[in-house]
Amino acid sequence: MYISHLGLTNFRNYQHLELDLPPGLLVFYGGNAQGKSNLLEAVYLLSIAKAYRATSDREAISRTAQDDHAHTQVLGIAQKGQDRVRIVVDMHLEGPGEDGYQTYLRKDIWVNGIPRPASELVGVVNAVLFDAEDIQMVSGPPAARRRYLDILICQMDRAYLRSLQKYQKVVYQRNHLLRLLRERRAQPEEMDFWNQAMVQEGVYIAQRRAQVVQELRALARELYCQLTEAREELAMEYVPSIPLDGEEGEDAHHTFARILEEGLGREVALGSSQWGPHRDDVRLKIGEMEAATYVSRGQARTLALTLKLAEGALLERERGESPVLLLDDPKNLWVEKGAIVPL
């Protein structure tokens, strides 16, 4: 599939833009601060319904539009074989905005003219975005690697997205309850429900992540070989916070439940949830070296690109159609190896 048309209104630095795009490899070049990355972000917004580079979607709304509450719109037409899919993501600020009242962001999504919730946009446009920040997946904290997995799995599995949202709510409520317990303002048996919900969603999330890492591993290893001409071998390992196969003949649910039960005292003392998928990590190794600590900048960049290309390859296998690859400023990669083979 490819994007055949992009229309932007008040998106980042674009006041208005209508752009017809051909299929195949497309290069945007120009000076700094011209809006090259913003184009990629706009396409990615059509895929994940979120402004990827922004900490909040608000940042994607142009300054002037924020001030007078004008609409920000990203329109995309995706060509999927014979089908054309028209997607519109509309965002605007609502609320008075003056005298201390908070404004809030309203996001509406239409697919072929029909309003859809954000969760149903997932999977309509497959896209993989790679930019300079993605080096965080290699050298940054575990959260960056969890985010990588989560965005990928959400694009393949809506149940995962729902599970993840529920899990986040459970952790949030549970952390509050742990603090209430520490202050002796709640009873321990109030924890039962939250533990049960945490186990149920947590085990599902961990198992799904384990499966996906398993599939990614082979793809990533092969891609890394191609990119570096097989000088080094990439190893990828999922490090769940809870043992997935269970322990001593128990299944994963029982083990997780027991860990929570036995660890309650510690969690109460610390006032936060210590075990579960929100503490997972993915370990990356090149040869025998831990990627997070030992790799060079150049290696880290190649490794991050590998992970993104593996994401694309996996989406392609799951969906039977190739995703749109969005590579932001890949010049270092071109210089490094001369060619990006999988493109």
Binding site: E98, A159, L180, R185, A197
Partner: protein, 204 residues
């Protein structure tokens, strides 16, 4: 929001707009429209509206039995002789009683919790009307308690908490079924709803 900076809005009108704006679901535009509508309303109708608002505040109390809002305690539902006293339906809010009554299917009694357990908002079991519910179940002829809290995370948590307290007191504890809406189309149901509906399928 204040309208002081708008010279064209008279002070009493600005105050009324502000009061409307405080209400749930009423934005600044609707508040203005309601206020201007009231100006054109006959004086007696305006009086009657004002009285109705005051009456709600002055005459409405909580039923000592079911905790629902009422004018007389015990409320008409609790004191009615035609209700089935062997069934008790536990709901989150008074509005839920209205919804269930509209079905005309349920003939039992109610108990209103006035909220759900939510640690993040600092609401624990002791902030709900759970103690009152346990009190009224002691030495009572209730044979079934229907837990009708919402199918949200907090609603489920509350239902489970209450369930455990009720086990030694009530022979039968049930939970509202979840599944397909009536008149709905299988095609449009999401996976979670559909799988819940499958789990809760019934013999025909």
């Amino acid at each position: 929001m204040t309208y002081d900076f708008l010279p064209s809005v008279a002070a009493p009108l600005a105050r009324l707009i502000e009061e409307f704006h405080k209400l749930p679901g009423i934005g600044p535009k609707t508040a203005q429209r309601l206020a201007y509508y009231l100006i054109r309303m006959p004086a007696e109708e305006a009086h009657s509206l004002a009285e109705a608002i005051l009456a709600v505040k002055e005459r409405i109390t909580f039923c000592t039995v079911c905790q629902n809002i009422t004018e007389s305690s015990p409320c008409p539902l609790c004191s009615s002789q035609s209700r089935d006293r062997s069934r008790l339906c536990v709901v989150e809010e008074p509005l839920d009683v209205l919804s269930l009554e509209r079905t005309r299917v349920y003939k039992g009694l109610y108990h209103v919790l006035h909220g759900v357990i939510s640690p993040a908002s600092g609401i624990g079991p002791e902030n709900l009307k759970i103690r009152e519910m346990l009190e009224r179940l002691k030495g009572n002829e209730v044979e079934e308690v229907i837990l009708a809290t919402n199918p949200s995370l907090e609603g489920e948590s509350t239902a489970m908490y209450i369930h455990r307290l009720l086990l030694p007191l009530v022979p039968r504890i049930t939970r509202l079924a979840r599944g397909l809406p009536v008149g709905g189309d299988l095609e449009y149901a999401d996976e979670v709803t559909l799988s819940r509906a499958l789990e809760g399928r019934q013999e025909m």
